[in-house]
Symmetry: C2
Subunit: 187 residues, 2 copies
């Protein structure tokens, strides 16, 4: 998917590229849907494990929240196909529930727990965790999902490491500090 | 598209539903792509005109920025198919440039001008307008684009007026004020 910049890859393409025959791929994963699910769980599972590790670390919870956001963007950066694939799976009535249960829900739960740690230590104002989830995931997602707009409207051809860092820094700064100058009054 | 919750609508479906024959639809719009383009320009053009009106209004530019963000979410709310359609058009090599030039670029320019007004009056800290664009559009977009996740991971079935308002309020508050409690130190 990364090689071809599309999620439109058939089982026989995968079999060919991996040097295995497609019957074997089917044998292991049951179906193409089974393979896709194994793929997102493999890619996102590792990130999720790291994020879960965050929860119990003895560091400032605000740092955890920053690392969490940075982690989401890094996963999208490393696996540029992952969002498109998730959207695609969410539109498949045979996959939508399992994607929701195994991917979105654990991520949302983790994020809510980090927010609660921050709030309980008086470091952040309370925020609606559901709203926060869609704001953060949407913002992280769009740098990659909106790559056509990035190219055509801004003349930027793809996300490199510098852009990823700038984006992460800007997003974290906005979410944490906002952009208003305190005490500045309208003219 | 709203009726069927899908952008997968054929010219003959449209002809049928509108009571016109598909040759007439083709005569006016040239092709299905021509019709799609006319549709997004009609839907988004009005919103864009209103936003352009904002620029010259004699009000606090921070209020303009808030109205601008509110306006983006309202358009997505009224036309739930519009994002999916734009993504779809961006993937069509015959449409991507024209969508970028007529939709994304004017929106980005307008947003940058509002940000400049805010910064020049000392109301906001300078922010990278390109990063801001993707953060804001992605966040506004995701409440609607991520509706499957909303339903499955959060048990919320669609975006109603209350949810739209809560989302808009949370996003604007985060972008403006951030969530950190000032002067709170890590424990």
């Amino acid at each position: 998917m990364t090689e071809r910049s599309t999620i439109d890859v058939s089982l026989s393409d995968i079999a060919k590229r991996s040097g295995l025959n497609s019957a074997l791929v089917k044998y292991y994963f049951g179906s193409k849907q089974g393979l896709l699910l194994a793929l997102v769980e493999e890619v996102l599972g590792r990130g999720m494990d790291q994020m879960e590790g965050l929860l119990t670390m003895e560091i400032d919870p605000v740092e955890k929240l920053k690392l969490h956001i940075k982690g989401i963007i890094t996963v999208y950066f490393r696996y540029p196909f992952i969002n498109r694939l998730l959207h695609h799976m969410y539109l498949d009535p045979e996959l939508d529930t399992v994607v929701g249960e195994r991917i979105s829900k654990p991520l949302a739960t983790l994020q809510r727990q980090i927010l609660e740690q921050c709030a309980s230590q008086g470091r952040i104002r309370p925020v609606n965790p559901t709203m926060f989830y869609f704001i953060v995931v949407g913002a992280c997602d769009h740098l990659f999902f909106g790559q056509q707009a990035l190219r055509i409207a801004f003349g930027i051809d793809g996300v490199d490491d510098d852009l990823r860092r700038t984006y992460t820094g800007t997003l974290i700064d906005l979410l944490m500090n906002g952009m208003l100058v305190p005490d500045a009054k309208p003219l």
